[in-house]
Amino acid sequence: MLRVDVSKQLGEFSIEASIASEGRVTGLFGASGAGKSSLINMIAGLLRPDRGTIVVDGETLDDSAARLHVPAHRRRIGYVFQDARLFPHLDVRQNLDYGRRMNRLADDAAQRARVTELLDIGNLLNRRPGQLSGGERQRVALGRALLAQPRLLLLDEPLGSLDEERKVEILPYLVRLRDEAGVPMVYVSHDADEMRRLATQIVMIRRGRVIAFGGAEVLPAANSPA
């Protein structure tokens, strides 16, 4: 499903990582600054690896030897950012519809209804992003990414900017997404509890290197830092 074998120099910091995952939710786990975000930016096509390959669903998206680099907009990889990044000049309905319009997909009312119901955002459709709470914004961002019909969904600390109460509010939606949306996900976090709740396979990253791979057993014991 997902094969990544890349290296990238970023100033003093370097990333050299090799990951192969078939999991429904691949968790990238590590402290902040470990290189998790750079890694998924490479998967998304926002950052070009110096060397290596990225293969999703059997399609090669990056291959430095063949000078291949598929640009982000042709990858069909969704991305939910920590800071939501909703378009401020569009209302929620237009934000949700954006990916469909850009990819010239047919209007699919059933799919739209399913996603808005799954994320409980039906009552927000006419609002502007500036009128939403942090948790609502993040749910709309999830819906927007899903409705572009990606083959893989990247989530970069989607709960990172929320307080505890909001996290508890969003987590169940992420679990539903994993179980019902049928889109494989890569989930980035430094929170071991989130990983336990969501990830089916875990990749542990430290200082730009993969140091462990496996199930929940690779996570540190509860409440100890990453």
């Binding site: 907009h73 378009f87 954006y98 850009m102």
Partner: protein, 231 residues
């Protein structure tokens, strides 16, 4: 006092026509240059940057003379345009529009560039991950968010164009009905005995137009802030 004569009306209407045409032609070009300067790194960028702002710092008479050398009947570009496309700038209102367009270009570009620079590039990245090609990112995210800046630039450019004097009179002279704008009409009037009242009338007209433009520009700038904050 407030009885505007036909000659004065001609100058006012000509000024408006010159400024409108100059602004409308310069705007797409200005958006392109502003985007390049705000978003791209390329060889020779500092030269493009300097050239864009040059009319702001050069004496207008120098800009006008350079235009005459380039776009005059015997100028390098002017001769070619006249022979091949039948477009003549010298001593025509079109030349006045060209001079005004060049002189107002820095004022047009600056607010557009600033508003593009103020847009969070991460929004453009997000659009890319949703499948938007670069030109779609520009038309659906960058341009709508920069729109208040574009309008502010157009208003400022228009105000500059309508008041332009030095480059215009150097390039296309001061021919009533063809190239005599409000500014050159005022200049002629204050050199004529008994022209004071008429000059004062045109002075008031230009103050009204300039104030209107500044107020409009402020209003667009406020809109821009609201838009960027998503309310």
């Amino acid at each position: 006092m407030f009885d505007i004569s036909p000659t004065e009306w001609t100058a006012i209407l000509l000024s408006l026509r010159v400024a409108v045409v100059a602004t409308l032609v310069a705007t797409p070009l200005g958006i392109g240059v502003a985007w390049l300067l705000a978003r791209r790194d390329f060889w020779g960028k500092s030269v493009v940057d300097a050239l864009t702002y040059l009319p702001l710092v050069l004496p207008p008479v120098v800009t006008g003379y350079l235009l005459l050398l380039t776009f005059g009947r015997r100028g390098l570009v002017g001769a070619w345009l006249a022979d091949n496309l039948g477009i003549v700038f010298a001593f025509r209102w079109t030349g006045a529009a060209l001079a005004c367009g060049v002189m107002s270009f820095p004022l047009l570009v600056r607010p557009i560039r600033l508003s593009i620079e103020a847009i969070d590039r991460r929004l453009e990245q997000a659009a890319g991950t949703l499948g938007a090609a670069p030109w779609q990112v520009f038309t659906t995210v960058t341009l709508p968010l920069a729109l208040p800046g574009v309008l502010a630039g157009m208003v400022l450019g228009f105000a500059k164009a309508i008041g332009e004097f030095g480059a215009t009179i150097t390039f296309v002279s001061n021919i009533p009905g063809e190239t005599q704008t409000i500014s050159s009409a005022i200049y002629s009037l204050i050199q004529t005995p008994d022209g004071d009242t008429a000059a004062l009338r045109l002075v008031i007209v230009s103050i009204v137009i300039a104030m209107g433009a500044l107020i409009a520009s402020e209003w667009f700038a406020r809109r821009a802030m609201q838009r960027l904050h998503g309310n």
